[in-house]
């Protein structure tokens, strides 16, 4: 490989990795938010992402609704479904057994239900194109070529992440969510309505997943299996440290860029393996993740 080609691959790998990594980061953020407050890894995150994409596709393409109606309806529907799942299913499962395993199984159940529903509609039978809301004309950043759509994906994802961090840092509800994540019993004693916060966290996480779906769907084509992208989000969350919101974001970018570098400099066959190698390296070298802090023994 000559030096010019090396430079081209390097620049393109970073730029493309940041774009796709920003979507992984959003999904990782939604997973970590839920895990921090309820200690349940949400295995339905990919299917929530997928179902939200199909909901928007249905409204925009098949119902011909205007954008300003279709997108808010999708986001609100995602919020309501996830919040009701927390209230109607997870709360009951927790009350019935209290075992975290059962809660995880319940999220797996939701993933199958959502995938089944989308398949039932018939829209998921063939790869479908989500209308690009921004032009796909190319622009050059150095030697790297990306589309205006790519740039808008990156900027929107950054804005959403900034809004989430602002909410956690500066709003009452955000502080309540953090308090529930740190010590739910103490938060309850201080007057925080635990169930309301859990519902809000699940709803908000679903909204973030839905935004990720709206951003990436015009790029990746939609199928009922598109939720498998969540594997990358879990990888991002693990790399960042499963309890760290900034870690999830950095992890997303690390996975996105790693994927591209592996494809460009090693082998296209190795792209799918790259995130798992990254996970294993992190688990061996820094088990708490890049931003996870040191392990501490929790006294009960």
């Amino acid at each position: 490989m000559d030096f010019d080609l090396f430079l081209l691959f390097l620049q393109q790998g970073i730029v493309s990795g940041l774009v796709v990594g920003s979507v992984y980061a959003l999904l990782a953020l939604s997973i970590v938010m839920i895990f921090k407050t309820s200690e349940v890894p949400n295995f339905a995150a990919g299917e929530v992402f997928m179902a939200a994409g199909y909901c928007a596709l249905f409204l925009l393409v098949f119902q011909h609704m205007p954008l300003w109606v279709a997108i808010p309806v999708t986001l609100v529907a995602s919020f309501i479904v996830a919040a009701l799942f927390r209230r109607g299913v997870l709360k009951q499962v927790a009350k019935a057994s209290g075992s975290p395993v059962n809660l995880v199984i319940a999220t797996l159940g939701l993933s199958y239900v959502l995938k089944g529903l989308v398949r039932r509609t018939g829209f998921g039978d063939t790869p479908r194109s989500f209308p690009a809301l921004i032009s796909t004309d190319s622009i050059m950043i150095g030697q790297a070529s990306i589309t205006k759509l790519d740039l808008s994906i990156f900027i929107t994802a950054i804005l959403v992440m900034a809004a989430v961090f602002w909410m956690f840092a500066y709003t009452k509800v955000g502080r309540a969510m953090r308090a529930v994540g740190m010590n739910p019993k103490a938060a309850q004693l201080m007057g925080v309505d635990l169930e309301r916060i859990h519902m809000l966290v699940w709803g908000l996480a679903a909204v973030i997943s839905a935004i990720a779906a709206l951003l990436i769907s015009p790029k990746i084509l939609m199928t009922a299996e598109m939720g498998s992208i969540v594997t990358m989000a879990f990888a991002a969350a693990i790399v960042g440290g499963f309890m760290s919101l900034p870690g999830a974001v950095v992890g997303g970018f690390v996975i996105g860029i790693t994927e591209n570098f592996v494809g460009l400099f090693i082998s296209s066959r190795a792209i799918v393996v790259a995130p798992f190698v990254a996970i294993m390296l992190v688990l061996i070298l820094r088990p708490q993740g890049l931003f996870g802090g040191k392990f501490a023994i929790k006294k009960v």
Partner: protein, 408 residues
């Protein structure tokens, strides 16, 4: 008088012998499951419901309408074909269950089914153990065809080895390509495609720059950039529909203007492909492989579409019918009919298998003839290519095939 007696005695003995032989032959035939003096029972299976219904529902209908035509013309040696149809949903478990039901409960003479390769390959072991002939519908089913067994015949659409080889053949002949960028999947299909491509590339003295990707790939930037960096004369895409659309879209975004050639496995719906690649601009220099003898609905195969309309007027009135792969059912049904005819009035499964191995005929439906042999179980290896600009389809001259041969 003596002469007459002798003649009569001889005639009597000859008649008795003939009757005895006929009775023996009849009893032999009677032992064959699914065979009566007036009917031959064929067990058919295809995806009649579910997400993969488009792969085989109308293919089975096409095969059935051909059998109906033969029945109307008097059947095969006086026997009418009786079809027992099961839904396999293109799922390995459902398909094996359907095959077992057809063989053990319905006692069919032979099997005619399979529209999805991965599912039909799952029935291989049972079919070979049961010694029931299986003539596939439209699955390529290479995994069940190589190494060859006595009982399974398929690839009436095309063998996956031939898909890849014919792509190289077309690129070399139509564009004089000496260097080809080639992208396939990192699974068994991809390996079969690539093996065929390499055989043709070697013969035609063409260099292949190969990238193999996962069927679930989301970001095709890296493999595309590497292929573009090889400065190819054309880009060959031998993938499933979703990665194919992503690659064509990426090529347009990055200003790639060399010919892009898509395998038959990469699309089932050209209008959906146009939407998925972002519109006609991405298809300025685009060619797609097909395995029929003509453009869909073209004059050479119009009779198949006419027969479908006459046989299934209600279905034909629906917007999604006939499904794209419908004509593929005809060569499969034709092969069964020809083998049964050649097996004579007292067919056995073994006789039919021997006749299947000798088949060599042009169905008039597919791009190439159906050719089996002592060591060959894949029917078709020929393809045509269509220039598609997002709206219009133009048939490229010639038929393109693979030189790959099974060497096992």
């Amino acid at each position: 008088m003596t002469m007459t007696r002798r003649t009569l005695a001889r005639a009597g003995l000859t008649t008795l012998a003939s009757l005895g032989f006929a009775a023996f032959a009849a009893s032999a035939s009677a032992q064959e499951p699914g065979l009566t003096p007036t009917s031959i029972k064929i067990g058919m299976f295809a995806p009649l419901s579910g997400a993969n219904m488009a792969y085989g529902f109308d293919v089975a209908n096409a095969a059935k309408m051909y059998f109906d035509k033969i029945n109307k013309e008097g059947g095969i040696h006086g026997r009418k074909i009786e079809v027992v149809l099961e839904d396999d949903r293109c799922n390995a478990n459902d398909l094996v269950a359907a095959v077992k039901k057809l063989v053990e409960q319905d006692q069919v003479f032979l099997l005619n089914g399979g529209s999805c390769s991965a599912a039909v390959v799952a029935a291989k072991e049972y079919v070979v153990r049961s010694k029931v002939p299986l003539v596939m519908l439209n699955a390529s089913g290479d995994g069940a065809l190589y190494p060859p067994t006595d009982y399974i015949f398929g690839a009436f659409s095309i063998s996956q080895y031939a898909v890849g080889g014919a792509m190289v053949d077309f690129a070399a002949k139509a564009f004089g390509a000496k260097k080809l960028a080639y992208i396939n999947h990192d699974d068994a299909y991809g390996a079969w495609n690539l093996e065929g491509s390499k055989a043709d590339a070697e013969t035609l003295k063409v260099d292949l720059a190969v990238e193999s990707v996962s069927p679930t790939i989301n970001d095709v930037t890296a493999p595309f950039l590497k292929l573009r960096a090889s400065n190819p004369d054309a880009l060959l895409i031998v993938t499933y529909a979703r990665p194919a659309a992503l690659l064509i879209k990426k090529a347009a975004e990055m200003g790639f203007n060399k010919p892009i050639i898509l395998s038959v496995t990469g699309t089932a719906n050209l209008s959906q492909l146009t939407a998925n690649v972002g519109g006609e601009a991405a298809l300025k220099n685009f060619y797609v492989q097909d395995v029929l003898a003509d453009l869909p609905g073209g004059p050479k195969i119009k009779w198949v579409y006419d027969m479908y309309k006459a046989s299934y007027p209600d279905l034909a009135a629906k917007p999604d019918h006939p499904q794209s792969y419908m004509p593929y059912g005809i060569p499969s049904a034709m092969s069964i009919v020809k083998a049964l005819q050649a097996a004579g009035p007292n067919p056995t499964r073994e006789k039919v298998i021997e006749e299947m191995k000798k088949l060599n005929f042009d169905s008039g439906v597919m791009a190439g003839p159906v050719v089996f042999g002592p060591n060959e179980r894949a029917a078709n290896k020929a393809t045509i290519f269509i220039k598609f600009d997002g709206k219009n389809q133009t048939l490229m001259p010639g038929v393109f095939t693979s030189r790959w041969k099974y060497k096992g």
